[in-house]
Amino acid sequence: MSEKRYVMLADVTRCINCKACVVACRAEWDTPLGHSRDWVAEVEDTDDNGMPVLDFFPGRCQHCENAPCVSACPTGAAWQRDDGIVLVDDPLCSGCELCVPACPYDARWLNPETGTISKCTFCQPRVDEGLQPACVETCVGGALHFGDANDPDSEVSKLLAEKEWVQLTTEAVPASTNHYYYTGGKPLPKEVLPRPVQQSIQEKAISDVVNPTAKIGLGAMVATFAGAGLKKLIDRRNELSGDERPAEHGREEQ
């Protein structure tokens, strides 16, 4: 049992939607254009006086306890370390994408270059060498913080005690996440709240029956699911703000 519990804190009041975190992540993990492990959601509103209000929510895998992606995974590739980091064991991942619709934050996607699932790992390979995640290190506004919530002397522990942090959870999605937000007391907008997830029969069968026992040697079974045309990633996560039009993907390949 690990002593550590890694958490990410995003101070929304300091996020300026500069996308430094997104580009840093792309460079660090060489993700293909059109996909990203992290994003910044822009939420535009008007206040009671009709004046504009603009808020930014940096997002990524929320590293849920009892993560629904882990229970949806038929091969055991999706797993959670004792320190709370949800990971993908690449050699075990068949690319069946059952975990993709299971994630209420749309944080998982099939990497077309590797054929396996990609997602935020809290930069586990960096963290294991004592480094900060790439997004935290580069964050211009000083909005992102990362560390061990079980260490009372850590920066994140102090910040968690200082301010009122909230998680992106709802009654329908009560997952306990290891990602926190500070909004300066404002309620969370519906745009960033988790999407209710219904387990499909196949997923349920896998999570209830298969998953707790042997997690390897299931390649053939997974191939069957995948071959049956399982639901593909439908809605690409809204990491691209609705501001100016982003590139049409595919153009980059020219």
Partner: protein, 725 residues
């Protein structure tokens, strides 16, 4: 039985220190490479420009080097200018032709017929080449198109400037009056962080701009001022600060001159008067004056950086300097600090010779018969307040090239830059280039301007070369090194090598005595007892911050203001000596017809000017700009969000781009992000994307400084037929 999971391991990389060239703040960076390939750029935690953070543009630096559309080989134009037909030639052939082209122009017109205009850290050797050649017409467009008026105004009032990397004690400031300073989207890392730290700690920010941008969203108050009326607001604030004696009386008595004269000058500028000009209520103006005075000296009237907006930008910036002087913010915590600098002597070179120019009219030569700057910067009778040396007025140089007045400029070395997408007048730039006898462009990327060159030279990017040292002054003094993190791609060469090889062909080799820029760096470092090896370990060497030097008035020391009087001159003596006092007075700007809009333009955090629109890591977020239109104005014209629009100015110039219908802008104003609307097909990502501000902005001039007055543009907007933007 659960098998043990495999954990991904961090792949090893080598680290090289440098400083960024993706924008002009120039953060310290640590570049990670693997097998000779740059994979990731981190911030250098020691560097005072950014302390370890890097923005999206800086993070996207690898794609600047690896852009498939890069200029790869020396090329010679074979078609007509601008036609885009080239043949690949060898470096020797190219350099021979450049030397011959420059020599030809020198022989026929004199050395002053060369202009060097550049943008970026690779400008320095080209400046030296131009000087050695004998031309005074070396120019950095940032002065006339961007921050020149701010430099001049602060120098006139205080004898000090805020430098290129603002010397503001942001994190300790408690009150910011932000005049169109979109700090979060112009995005200079250290500056944003300082401001954000203060605002997060409860400092008040009042954001004044016709548009509600990200900086406005982080501020407590947004004042949607009527476009181009900032000067009126500032004059009214000065009026209130003086009338209500809100200024720092001890400081003003001890350190300033001209209070009574200023009081008389601002007497007519009541808040009620300013309300009519600015549409900001008089009560709000009074309240802000009082709030600022209450917070002073931890208060800043925050100047925008690009201040080439109106035909009295000098007056506007003088008013900002006056207000900051009245509030006593100089050399105080939370105000303007005195930087420390790491002084490193330049290498020893023979003096430049500027030969007599006997073919010029006498008002364009100095006492010794040497040519004066053709753009009039620093020239009596032209724009004496504008800074000459290697700054000057690019907007005026284009006019000179086109008209040959006051004298012909027939050769042009472009060291980066883009006269089309960064300027205000395609027709003028086109005519100027057509009128040249020789045009060589040196750059990393193709662009609309260098498409017209006779010879095109591929520069190595900032990740592929050594460069001259970066020295600067923040609270700490510092010197930073740029080392290559990868081999130069294709046939690109670094600027120093290119310039040395051109100079040698022109018998000017004595001005480039070093074998390489690395040798030059070695010589400079030796002079201060440092070595390249030392700098390669941390990227930067520093003089520690010293509060007594940075904030002398907090430590019982005196402030120094190197003006003629030795004091802050509220009505600058040098301005009076030139008879320019009227610059202190308000001058109304353009009058809009009911169906016209003011055209505002500005930055986004994910692009730098016109340079990054081909970078796929950045176009991911913004591949084209849109025209911001208020919903009421859009409804009147039947415009819906996303509709293709035609934007036309009074000269009949037009651009097409899509609509962004938003309440985040005044009804009488439209806004575009700058840098789009590329028309060079060699930049495949940028080509044909969005609309160009440079084809719509005003080509007016501030009469005192000669700098551009870009924001006086007025446009009409309609739905574009055909549906294609």
């Amino acid at each position: 039985i659960q098998a043990p999971h495999q954990l991904e391991k961090l792949k090893p990389t080598t680290e090289t220190y440098g400083f960024c060239d993706m924008c002009f703040w120039r953060c310290g960076i640590k570049v990670r490479s693997r097998d000779g390939r740059v994979v990731k750029i981190d911030g250098n935690p020691e560097h005072p420009h950014n302390y370890g953070i890097v923005c999206a543009k800086g993070n996207a630096g690898p794609m600047w080097a690896y852009d498939p559309d890069r200029l790869k080989y020396p090329m010679r134009r074979v078609g007509k200018r601008g036609e885009g037909k080239w043949e690949r030639i060898s470096w020797d052939e190219a350099l021979d032709e450049v030397a011959a082209g420059l020599a030809r122009v020198k022989e026929q017109y004199g050395p002053q017929a060369l202009t060097v205009i550049g943008h970026g850290t690779w400008m320095k050797p080209y400046t030296r080449l131009g000087r050695a050649f004998g031309s005074p017409n070396i120019c950095s467009p940032a002065f006339g198109f961007c921050c020149g008026p701010r430099l001049v105004a602060n120098d006139l009032v205080a004898g000090r400037t805020l430098t290129g990397n603002e010397t503001l004690d942001l994190e300790n400031c408690r009150y910011f009056l932000m005049l169109g300073r979109n700090i979060t989207e112009a995005l200079h890392n250290g500056e944003v962080r300082g401001w954000m730290d203060a605002v997060a700690e409860g400092a008040k920010s009042v954001y004044v701009d016709p548009r509600f941008n990200i900086t406005a969203s982080k501020s407590q108050e947004w004042l949607p001022i009527r476009p181009l009326s900032d000067h009126a607001l500032l004059l009214a604030l000065i009026h209130v600060v003086i009338e209500e004696q809100l200024y720092d009386q001890a400081f003003v008595a001890e350190y300033t001159t001209g209070l009574d004269e200023l009081r008389q000058r601002v007497q007519p500028y009541t808040p009620e008067w300013a309300e009519g000009e600015t549409e900001i209520p008089a009560d709000t103006i009074r309240r802000i004056a009082r709030e600022m005075a209450e917070a002073a000296p931890r208060a800043l009237v925050y100047s925008p950086r690009r201040v080439t907006r109106t035909t009295n930008q000098l007056g506007t910036l003088l008013a900002i300097a006056q207000l900051n002087a009245l509030l006593g913010v100089w050399d105080r915590y939370g105000g303007i600090f005195t930087p420390q600098t790491f002084d490193i002597p330049e290498p020893d070179l023979p003096p430049y010779e500027y030969p007599r120019a006997d073919n010029l009219p006498e008002e364009w030569v100095d006492e010794e018969g040497r040519p004066l700057r053709a753009d009039g910067a620093g020239v009596d009778g032209a724009f004496p307040l504008a800074w000459g040396d290697d700054r000057g007025l690019a907007n005026q140089l284009w006019r000179v090239m086109a008209t040959e007045e006051p004298y012909p400029i027939k050769a042009f070395i472009a060291a980066g830059g883009n006269g089309f997408l960064s300027g205000p007048d395609y027709e003028l730039v086109h005519k100027a280039i057509e009128n040249l006898e020789f045009f060589v462009a040196c750059d990393v990327m193709p662009n609309e301007m260098n498409r017209y060159a006779d010879i095109l030279l591929p520069e190595a990017s900032y990740l592929e070369r050594y460069d001259d040292l970066q020295t600067g002054g923040q609270r700490e003094g510092y010197v930073a090194l740029r080392s290559p993190a990868m081999e130069p791609l294709h046939e690109s060469r670094d600027a120093w090598t290119i310039c040395k090889q051109i100079a040698e062909r022109l018998d000017l080799g004595q001005y480039f005595p070093h074998e390489s820029v690395a040798d030059l760096v070695d010589e400079r470092l030796r002079k201060v007892g440092l070595s390249r090896e030392e700098l390669e370990r941390k990227g930067v060497a520093k003089i520690p911050a010293d509060p007594a030097v940075n904030f002398p008035r907090e430590h019982g020391r005196r402030s120094e203001f190197p003006t003629p009087s030795g004091k802050l001159e509220l009505v600058p003596s040098r301005l009076k000596a030139m008879g320019y006092e009227e610059a202190l007075d308000y001058r109304p700007q353009v009058a809009r017809e009911p169906d016209e809009f003011h055209l505002a333009f500005g930055r986004t955090g994910v692009h730098t000017h016109t340079r990054t629109q081909n970078n796929p890591w950045l176009t991911e977020f913004m591949a084209e700009n849109r025209l911001w239109v208020h919903p009421d104005a859009a409804a009147e014209r039947g415009i819906e969000d996303g509709d293709p629009l035609r934007v036309t100015d009074r000269k009949g110039r037009s651009e097409t781009l899509r609509a962004k219908v938003t309440r985040r802008i005044r009804k009488d104003t439209v806004f575009m992000v700058h840098g789009f609307g590329g028309f060079d097909p060699r930049r495949q990502q940028a080509y044909g994307r969005g609309g160009a501000t440079s084809n719509l902005v005003s080509n007016d001039v501030d009469p005192y400084l000669g700098s551009a007055a870009l924001d006086r543009g007025l446009v009409r907007v309609e739905k574009a037929s055909g549906g294609e933007a």
